[in-house]
């Protein structure tokens, strides 16, 4: 049992359990906090995959921004903070069934692929993933266009969100 594997299993457990609680917990605040936990686990996975940058960005963006946003939203849309009554729709079992089916199908497909059990080769010496990522994001040969487009998207979303959520005083 290699420490990497230990860490992976811990993270996987954390992620899946938190995710489950995210979807089943009655209290939305708790759900949001569970989401934080799950995302943190994902961040650790990224670190495990030598994607330090993504790991940190995951924490910054998801926990620092999105989760906080969720908490705010939840608090803003509750007359009293606690939730009473079931949080599931009446026919919650249909989605559950569908989810299980899809999961089964995906697992089947995954194992249907050849060479799926490969393990990662070491990152070749002299390749700094961080620098490579930075160059790829801004080099014309790389992904500068999608990157800029997504930044535009962010800007638009910012403006749109402000406009939608603002209380218009006649």
């Amino acid at each position: 049992m290699h420490p990497d594997q230990i860490i992976f299993f811990l993270c996987a457990a954390l992620i899946l359990i938190s995710a489950l609680f995210v979807v089943i917990s009655r209290n939305l605040i708790h759900a949001a906090l569970w989401l934080v936990a799950a995302l943190f686990g994902v961040a650790v996975l990224f670190a495990l995959l030598n994607a330090n940058f993504l790991a940190v960005v995951q924490v910054v963006v998801y926990i620092g921004a999105i989760a906080i946003l969720f908490l705010f939203a939840v608090m803003l849309t509750r007359k009293d903070i606690r939730d009473r009554g079931p949080q599931m729709r009446r026919s919650w079992w249909i989605p559950a069934l569908l989810g299980l089916l899809i999961l089964a199908g995906l697992v089947y497909l995954i194992f249907a692929q050849p060479g799926i059990d490969r393990t990662a080769a070491a990152i070749p010496a002299g390749v700094d993933p961080l620098r490579a990522l930075g160059k790829a994001l801004v080099s014309p040969g790389g992904y500068v266009l999608p990157f800029e487009v997504s930044s535009i998207l962010l800007l638009a979303a910012l403006v749109g969100a402000v406009y939608v959520a603002i209380t218009k005083k006649s």
């Binding site: 393990t119 390749v127 994001l137 999608p146």
Partner: protein, 103 residues
Amino acid sequence: MHIPLSWYLILAAALFCIGLFGVMSRKNAIAILLGIELMLNAVNINLVAFWRYLDPTKMAGQAFAVIVFAVAAAEVAVGLALIISVYRRRNTIIADEIDLMKW
């Protein structure tokens, strides 16, 4: 080095399905957004895992993960803004009660 790719993929699939289940089964619109976040993260795990396992010198996986971050942030911002304004007008965020568009 000692973790097969399939583990990541299965983890991602499971996470994805849980998120899907949440999206489809939760009443609360915010909870639906939470589910969507889970699904996006599943996708990200896949992207990064493939980047790492297939060819670490090609940054496509990470680049798209970054873009997914941006999209997720945008989606959450706008989505929550919408939810809040809906709440202001109709005083509810139960997705099923927001059905003005029905026959």
